[in-house]
Symmetry: C2
Subunit: 230 residues, 2 copies
Amino acid sequence: MDRVDEAIGGGARLLARLDRASTTQVVADALRERILDGQLRSGSQCQELQLTAALGVSRNTLREAFQILIAERLLVREPHRGVFVRRLEAADVRDIYAVRRLIECAALAAPASTRGLPEMQAAVETAHAAAARGDWYEVGNADVRFHLAITASVGSARVDRTMRALLAELRLAFQLMADAHALHEPFLGRNQQLVEMLEQRRPVEASIELAGYLDDAEQLLLATLTPVEP
Amino acid sequence: MDRVDEAIGGGARLLARLDRASTTQVVADALRERILDGQLRSGSQCQELQLTAALGVSRNTLREAFQILIAERLLVREPHRGVFVRRLEAADVRDIYAVRRLIECAALAAPASTRGLPEMQAAVETAHAAAARGDWYEVGNADVRFHLAITASVGSARVDRTMRALLAELRLAFQLMADAHALHEPFLGRNQQLVEMLEQRRPVEASIELAGYLDDAEQLLLATLTPVEP
DNA sequence: ACATATGAGTTGTTCGACAATCCAACAAGA
DNA sequence: TCTTGTTGGATTGTCGAACAACTCATATGT
């Protein structure tokens, strides 16, 4: 075989080669991370030549990675103009929250929703710790985990994926806000409250509370979103 | 503008140029159609060289189209082995029907569900006509339109897209059945029944009926799916 | 001032190359 | 015979270069 010499470096290296991701996947993951943490700002263009240079990959590979993120709706392609980090419109935010109310409230109202309690509790603690040190990006991560724990109780891989994609998309809107503090702070306590309601076996009440919670979050986001015009 | 000469052929031609699709998109659409109508059988491999020759496009363009259909879960990639038309497992079918019950029943129970009535009625008629002439593929199309009309009443673009993708995915399983007749026939009348319940403003009853309907469809599909082993 | 032409820069698509990997067929040894 | 390498061909993964098609800003002509 060719290049056996390089594999001699150690067994860990060999195993790593087995379930390695393709370059395309690595690039897509890297871009997704940069988008979600705000390094690639909403609305900014992703120029092929520039990114191929920055990432050290070919245009073909980069374009395959683009397709992945376009399918996830984190990027949009404008034909012959370029690929851009998606900008969420007010209508998108409303749509996303409508879906969240539909799925999350249904999941929380079901008796099985207590299955997600350990994950939810852990997420609440992580969020509090992160907030205490002012790491609002990590607070956002923990909040995503919290809501994923709710929908995980449905036990459906597709619901999981849908929610994951939906919450990632929503984070595009978070970054348009000047201070993430104002967005996340009010909901730290309410997450805690939902946990307690579930601990006391009052899932239906929790579901109703969550509906109001999501309404408030939607309004807050819309209020800070609409005045923004480039 | 450039190339005005070519546009003289007619206004339709001009419009076609404006919102023309990229080659990648055309290829993805062509492949999707071939998958859904069964020309590309579930489990079969999509070899790059073979398809580039058949479609007259380059490998790179084909691979970009693959990414689109992989994201739609109609194709799966096995690294270094190839791209295959997805095979649905029993677990997939169960998962899909769980999501359908969640979304469709919620949509139908809501008062707004009567908004979709005209579309639903049209789909029922189309299905009956297609069934009368034995065109079971078109019956399947009409059935998809029927259920999309139900979820359209939610008024969410994302719910629409999710359902569209879900039903496309589900058609992968339909093709594994020997006769589509056995699958669709029992549900022609039940679609009609749902329409009538909605016409009589009994959405909640309709929702309950739909839940049983989906249960039955799931069981029918699972029964014909599990014994199939290549 | 307005319409049109020009040109530089970017995207869309193709081609050819080669490394990495899989797989089936074969060869060698127990 | 059965198992265990070995080998070579076929396929996928990734790259680089090329050119056509298109966008946009600028310059030109009227």
